[in-house]
């Protein structure tokens, strides 16, 4: 598989401010792709454009060979943990996943929901109202929702934010398993050690432009730095 995610010269402005400026990205099938950048660099805007909920002002995006405007197809192949993390607090975790499983027309919904809750470690709290969940539990539920359609491409915007170390480890293990099973992972995070540990390819954006992309070894050579933190600083310090 090659070029599962492809963005050519995509731009997006909010008023006079250019959030993303002529960005090119190519992510190969099966990659664990790290996406880094300082606050306001355009990471979330880029993810929203790639996942089809925001139209770029210019440029083209294809996911799994389909234009990102083909919402029905894109929705069927991607799973997303977005930056916005709203839930229906009055629903139980089971009801929430069942609702999304219905939207995705999943066949045996009850079995799928049970499996998803077990995968993210919420099997014993599935019947409880989401309003009573901790932040970390909501993060896990959001991840379960992203997996409801067994996606081939997974977009994650700060998926371990708010999780305790054990929770972070559990999510990392789950993502590794998914990636080993062939799922392409597009992973945006501020936790550099996580990115260094998990990602096979890392891209760094700054002010809406691609600052560098490559394996950790390539970025080390390019910036003459050893640590990913130093690489990040070298690429984003203007």
């Amino acid at each position: 598989m090659a070029g599962v995610i492809s963005a050519r010269a995509i731009s997006k402005s909010y008023g006079d401010r250019k959030a993303v400026d002529g960005l090119d990205l190519a992510v190969e099938g099966g990659a664990f792709f790290g996406f880094l950048g300082p606050n306001g660099a355009g990471k979330t805007t880029t993810i929203r454009m790639l996942t089809g909920v925001l139209r770029p002002d210019s440029g083209t995006i294809t996911i799994d060979g389909h234009d990102s405007r083909d919402r029905q197809h894109i929705a069927s192949v991607i799973g997303v943990v977005p930056e916005s993390r709203g839930f229906y607090d009055w629903m139980s975790g089971e009801e929430y996943l069942d609702f999304f499983a219905a939207l995705y027309r999943i066949g045996d919904r009850a079995r799928a929901v049970r499996q998803l809750l077990a995968d993210v470690g919420l099997a014993d709290r599935g019947g409880t109202a989401i309003g009573t969940y901790s932040r970390g539990m909501k993060q896990r539920l959001g991840l379960a929702r992203a997996l409801v359609n067994s996606p081939r491409v997974l977009f994650l915007d700060e998926p371990t934010l708010g999780l305790d170390p054990q929770g972070q480890e559990d999510v990392q293990q789950l993502l590794k398993r998914l990636n080993e099973g062939g799922v392409t992972v597009f992973y945006s995070s501020h936790l550099l050690h996580e990115v260094a540990h998990l990602c096979s390819v890392i891209a760094v954006i700054n002010r809406g432009r691609l600052a560098a992309v490559g394996t950790l070894a390539e970025l080390q050579r390019q910036t003459d730095s050893e640590d990913l933190r130093d690489i990040f600083m070298a690429l984003t310090n203007d």
Binding site: W90, A102, R105
Partner: protein, 255 residues
Amino acid sequence: MYRFIWLKDLKAAVHTWKGLVWLLVTALIFSAASYLFLTNRELSLLDQTEMLWLLGKVIIGAALLVTVIDASSLITAEFENETIESLLLSPLSLGGLVLGKLLAALTTWLVVYAAAAPYMVVTAAGSRLTGAFLVYVGLFGTLAVLGFTLLVLAVSFFYRSLRNTLTTSLVILLALALPALFSPVLKTSTLARIAGVANPLDSIFAGLDNVLVDYHTGLAANLGFLVPVLVFCVLALGFLMLSVRAFQRRGIAKD
């Protein structure tokens, strides 16, 4: 897929007690109005048909108030609670989302109408207008609720905030309901007549008057009163389509 959005919003109304509160409030309004019409010394002197006309206005007015308040939160809550992005990421189309929300609002009207039905039957007893009263309040009420819901949903996509949507929608409802408060003399002026023809609420109240006071119960005799309401629904649908298209262009992030 609109079915799942519709069911979700119905469940939410039950879980959050919102539905029960609306039912209680409207039942109290209908009880108070019926009690006044039947027992107040001055109001009880009203001709029964006049009383039915007033009760019909109260039912449709209360239903529209409930609709505007309830529908204002249907879309805006998805924005304010940050649940809209997950919905947009699913295979659900925007049309499916809107249809599900529309059906949820119409279900609320159905519940209000069901709560009003016993009051209509009791107050119309012996008048031989019970059937016409039930049919025309149902018909005019459904069209009015449909038009206002479409309008509120359009405003919701435009503002994405409950406060702004609710304020704007209530102002529109108030502006359209205002002529109903004019004295009969004021209504005979040319300007008031022109405004009356274009105003869906005025047409509804005049239509009820035509059915209940003037005994013109046939559909053909009331088409002239239905047309402005239908035009209002079509205009509101057009506004909603424009608003949804603008939302699609702008995307989830506000400029």
